[in-house]
């Protein structure tokens, strides 16, 4: 048995070493750096205690970033899931070319954040973008906006891109779940005289609650980590209108040379993710219906 243990160790070792060296060690160092005023370059590192965390919870900039993150995360998750469920129901009931339609709705998912962000940046352009040009040719010039340049619309415009890009992913999960709903149950309820709305609310929806839990958690966590689109479309602007927690972390770390503060922000982010996971385990999971 002893040689067996040794082989097991040898098999696990490469993954263990990579994982420890490049994920766990830097994560643990982050905890250390979060108590310092490290600038990322200077080898002399000054310990500042809880000053970074104190600044996080008192600075208006972090408050603004938190507000943007919460707004974008919650709105995107809600709208994305609604759209994804709608698409899944359509695709599930469409009479022909079901796989074709599923494939089309999934296409935006495979684009990179940078490419999708760039395409939409031009779509949203004030003077030459297709959206404003289309509005103009439809005689709706009054609706033309500087979508990414005005603080009132920039965050929502970035949100549109994220929903467009993400909905297909969640649709595939809903679709698989819908296809797992046993037909006998649906038929039985039809015979019992349930309307199609009742069937959906009382039979289908509870039976796909597992997919709902997964999708909602995944979309919340993905929403928290949005970065690429913000980088290419708005750079956090105008002003700080689209600066999220992750973008703030990047900015303070690389443009302002405050990496100690950045790691403290990262820890707050990890804490939020852990809470979301915990909520998923505790509340949503327990409400799922199993047949």
């Amino acid at each position: 048995m002893r040689s067996n243990s040794r082989t097991t160790a040898a098999f696990i070792a490469p993954a263990f070493i990579f994982f420890t060296l490049f994920i766990i060690v830097p994560t643990a160092s982050s905890v250390y750096y979060s108590f310092t005023s490290w600038d990322g370059i200077n080898p002399y590192i000054r310990f500042v205690g809880l000053a970074n965390f104190k600044e996080i919870f008192t600075s208006a900039r972090f408050g603004n970033a938190l507000k943007n993150t919460v707004l974008i995360t919650i709105f995107i998750s809600a709208l994305e899931n609604a759209l994804a469920l709608g698409l899944a129901l359509l695709v599930d009931n469409v009479s022909r070319a079901r796989n074709f339609f599923r494939a089309i709705f999934y296409v935006p998912v495979i684009l990179s954040g940078i490419v999708s962000g760039f395409i939409w940046k031009i779509m949203f352009n004030y003077n030459f973008g297709p959206i404003n040009q289309a509005l103009q040719s439809l005689g709706l010039s009054a609706l033309k906006r500087d979508w990414l340049g005005s603080p009132a619309f920039a965050l929502a415009s970035v949100g549109v891109v994220l929903i467009w890009k993400g909905a297909g992913y969640y649709m595939v999960i809903y679709l698989a779940s819908l296809q797992g709903v046993p037909q006998e149950v649906v038929e039985a309820s039809t015979i019992d005289g349930a309307s199609s709305l009742q069937r959906f609310l009382r039979i289908t929806l509870p039976l796909i609650s597992g997919a709902f839990t997964i999708n909602f958690t995944l979309s919340l966590i993905n929403g928290l980590k949005v970065f690429d689109q913000v980088a290419v479309m708005t750079d956090g602007g105008p002003g700080f209108a689209t600066e999220t927690i992750v973008y703030l972390l990047y900015k303070v770390g690389f443009s302002e040379g405050r990496q100690g503060f950045g790691t403290a922000v990262g820890l707050v982010l990890l804490f939020i993710i852990m809470i979301l996971n915990w909520i998923q385990q505790k509340f949503l999971k327990s409400r799922e219906v199993q047949l």
């Binding site: 243990s5 082989t7 097991t8 040898a10 098999f11 490469p14 993954a15 263990f16 990579f18 994982f19 490049f22 994920i23 060690v25 830097p26 994560t27 160092s29 982050s30 750096y33 990322g40 698409l87 359509l90 009931n93 469409v94 009479s95 339609f101 494939a103 089309i104 709705f105 296409v107 495979i110 684009l111 990179s112 954040g113 940078i114 490419v115 999708s116 760039f118 395409i119 030459f128 297709p130 289309a134 467009w164 297909g168 595939v172 698989a176 997964i214 999708n215 970065f227 690429d228 290419v232 992750v246 990047y250 770390g253 790691t263 990262g266 820890l267 982010l269 990890l270 993710i273 996971n277």
Partner: protein, 275 residues
């Protein structure tokens, strides 16, 4: 019966309209890559008037886009090969030697799934500098491998737990070494899992932006996505050339998706299981 037909037509119609709407941005990107800048500004949504390839020739002659493509292919290819060797090997070790230690290791790996890259990137870069990996193509590779361990182990271990030991025992009796048992008997059985891993990680690495942007040397071409990002700031008056780059970035992913659609769907379902 008539009512049923009408509603099925309505569903088909609504689905088709939505599908068309979903494709508008991609249509816009592809046609814009084939137009001159003036044409994009004048009629953004109309088809190109002729076959106009100057954007692509400019892209390759005026920028170092070829190097960016090479870097992207290298990072994706090398990371993938190492990932689908290292990760299933570890999962095999964990799955075939159940005990307190392997269970601890497994839980340790799973913790990694929650940690966001942004949290540890600052110390990570310092560490990469220490190892002499900062500014080299090996830098992103080691991080991609490390980042794939958590989810990959989950995926492979749950799959392996449903694979019976019999064949491995038979191979051992036939005189295979432990590594040969893994490589010749077990690894081929993991095909479906490996396909999901390749698709999920491949797409993630191909589309990654932040790590190559920060880790690769700053005076040279980096990856396709980094190139597109820097063109946006650099060629503000040449959208056409940026669109050409964007189209080159999305075409291989799109082609792979069309060819391997089944595995993409499986990959998502596997990815969803981690939630």
């Amino acid at each position: 019966m008539k009512k049923f037909k009408i509603s099925s037509f309505v569903i088909l119609f609504a689905t088709a309209i939505l599908a068309a709407a979903f494709l508008v941005p991609i249509y816009f990107a592809v046609i814009s890559a084939l137009k001159s800048n003036g044409e994009i500004l004048k009629n953004p949504l109309s088809l190109p008037t002729g076959l106009y390839l100057k954007n692509f020739t400019d892209l390759f002659s005026k920028t170092d886009f070829l190097t960016a493509i090479w870097h992207t292919v290298f990072l994706t290819g090398v990371s993938e090969v190492l990932i689908v060797f290292i990760v299933p090997l570890a999962a095999y070790g964990i799955s075939r030697h159940p005990g307190t230690v392997t269970k601890l290791v497994y839980t340790y790996f799973l913790c990694g799934m929650m940690i966001p890259f942004h949290l540890y990137m600052f110390p990570l870069f310092k560490e990469l500098k220490l190892f002499g990996l900062f500014g080299t193509l090996a830098g992103p590779v080691v991080v991609y491998i490390s980042g794939s361990v958590a989810f990959g182990c989950l995926l492979y271990t749950s799959f392996l737990n449903s694979v019976p030991y019999d064949m491995e025992e038979a191979a051992r009796i036939d005189g295979c070494s432990e590594f040969q048992v893994f490589w010749k008997v077990v690894f081929p059985l993991l095909g479906p899992c490996t396909a999901s891993m390749v698709v999920l990680n491949g797409l993630g690495i191909w589309n990654d932006f932040l790590m190559p942007y920060l880790v690769l040397p700053s005076n040279k071409a980096k990856t396709i996505n980094v190139a597109v990002y820097s063109f946006v700031g650099q060629y503000t008056a040449r959208w056409d050339i940026v669109f050409a780059g964007a189209v080159i970035a999305l075409v291989p992913a799109l082609a792979l998706y069309v060819a391997l659609q089944k595995h993409f769907v499986k990959g998502i379902m596997a990815g969803a299981a981690k939630g």
